[in-house]
Subunit: 293 residues, 2 copies
């Protein structure tokens, strides 16, 4: 077995999922939150993941009850970190927030504790020194609804000890994830390095008025056999994220995409979450059999 006593720092969307799925698979999990109210929110999220795991993994009431026994919620960071085998940091994507945490971690954590960042956009080398144990640190990245979309990307930084990734590979399998071994630091890991160019290409065809979103998705689905095209994927990712990625890029075409997406966001259409994006939900047009004809 790899790690048994695990602390998740931050109980947001991803942190609470990693915590819950680890507990569901028998790990002893502590969730740290900065206040009682943030921990209450984390517990409400966990109740939602219970529903998801019940539905998607056919979990029994006994399994759900057992998982609850494996979860502890604390606001004291020293208490949360004490004795942990593994700490997974799942704080907001703000470098200063993360650095501040790692500096505290360096002082409070046991010397043997291993630590990982769940950051999706920042590279682990940016925080390696602050951890005080760069050799025991890497990036560990999950998709959303991790019990179902079960990839876990494991990415070392240049100072990570070569033996560390294999322990995360083992941990991933123990909690039902498929480990994706990334050999070197890469912004976007493997998945987003593939996904962003596809979404970008689709967006550009749309912004340049070459074809409409439904035509583009249909072409992709028929030609590659994929269950969704780039616009359906963007609805799932959420248009706020699509906007954020495009507005950062100064190219004319990205600014044009950002402008068009902004119009949709301003109308309250931010994707699956709001019930409308490029498609209307539930039952979006692209899932109807006649869409591919």
């Amino acid at each position: 077995m790899s790690y048994q006593k695990v602390t998740i720092v931050g109980g947001g969307t991803l942190g609470s999922q990693i915590a819950y799925v680890s507990a569901f698979h028998g790990k002893d999990v502590t969730v740290w939150g900065r206040s009682d109210s943030s921990l209450e929110k984390a517990q409400a999220r966990v109740a939602r993941w219970e529903d998801g795991v019940r539905r998607d993994l056919q979990a029994t009431d006994e399994q759900i009850a057992a998982a609850r026994e494996h979860l502890t919620y604390v606001t004291d960071l020293g208490e949360a970190l004490a004795g942990a085998d593994l700490v997974i940091e799942a704080l907001p994507e703000a470098p200063a927030t993360k650095t501040e945490f790692y500096e505290k971690f360096a002082k409070l954590a046991d010397p043997q504790t291993v630590v990982a960042t769940n950051s999706s956009t920042l590279l682990p080398s940016a925080f390696a020194e602050a951890t005080g144990r760069p050799e025991k640190f890497l990036a560990y990245h999950f998709a959303n609804e991790i019990w179902k979309n079960n990839t876990a990307e494991i990415m070392p930084h240049p100072g990570t000890t070569p033996e560390l990734p294999a322990t995360f590979e083992e941990y991933s399998r123990e909690i039902g994830m498929v480990p994706i071994m990334v050999k070197k630091e890469q912004p976007g890991y493997v998945l987003n390095s593939l996904l962003v160019p596809l979404l970008d290409a689709g967006s550009q065809l749309w912004a340049n008025e070459i074809a409409d979103p439904e035509t583009i998705d249909k072409t992709w689905m028929i030609a590659t056999g994929a269950p969704a095209g780039p616009f359906a994927i963007m609805d799932t990712v959420g248009l706020n994220t699509v906007y954020a990625i495009n507005i950062m890029n100064p190219d004319t075409s990205h600014q044009e995409i950002a402008k068009k997406v902004k119009t949709m966001i301003d109308a309250g259409h931010i994707g699956v979450e709001s019930g409308e994006g490029f498609y209307k939900y539930p039952n979006p047009a692209y899932l109807a059999p006649e869409f591919l004809k």
Copy 2:
């Protein structure tokens, strides 16, 4: 009904498929080839497509026999073009070859004949004037094994009459294709505008040693539900094509990809067609259930 009397200029891989599928759906099809030997090759190809249509569309012997009655092979260009409602040019991707044909076409074809290029990489505006009837000309692009991968991209150039694309939309449906309406000229149409960036992103992760091809494909398949990842797709496309696309791009990363692909080609591994590429065929690893675990 849109067009009944159809001439396909060139009986190569794509030309012979467009001819056969049109004939299978009851169109009166003439295939033009430059010599008896090129027409013999075209007929041998058609025999292969008969097998494919029999297998994939569950065609009966009667249907196969009826399709044969709808196919004529001629070497005289004037004879091939006379009385055609629609001419589809499927010559090699050499601009001079195509221009030479269109100049002959302009002199020989009936005034009402509509014409389309099946070019995958050249834009129709490059040949519009040579046709002598730019308003009756557009690009009409098919995938390989068109009876199965049944997208047909319809792309006008700026001088195409606005009513023309709809007639190709109708023709496409009559021959069992899903028409993809491209509104404006776009190199790569819709499909390759999406596909090339994905293949490129995968190739770069491989060339930069971020992850191996199987890891990259696995990530894509699990995360998006697609039946194949970029390297499986490259094996299907063929590594000669992948090489040709990369070697044209002077960027270091593309040159590195070209170099790595060249090593595989030199070893005789050019993809599905040769029995080995990134995977070994038949029964490539990515189709095994344990690949996604």
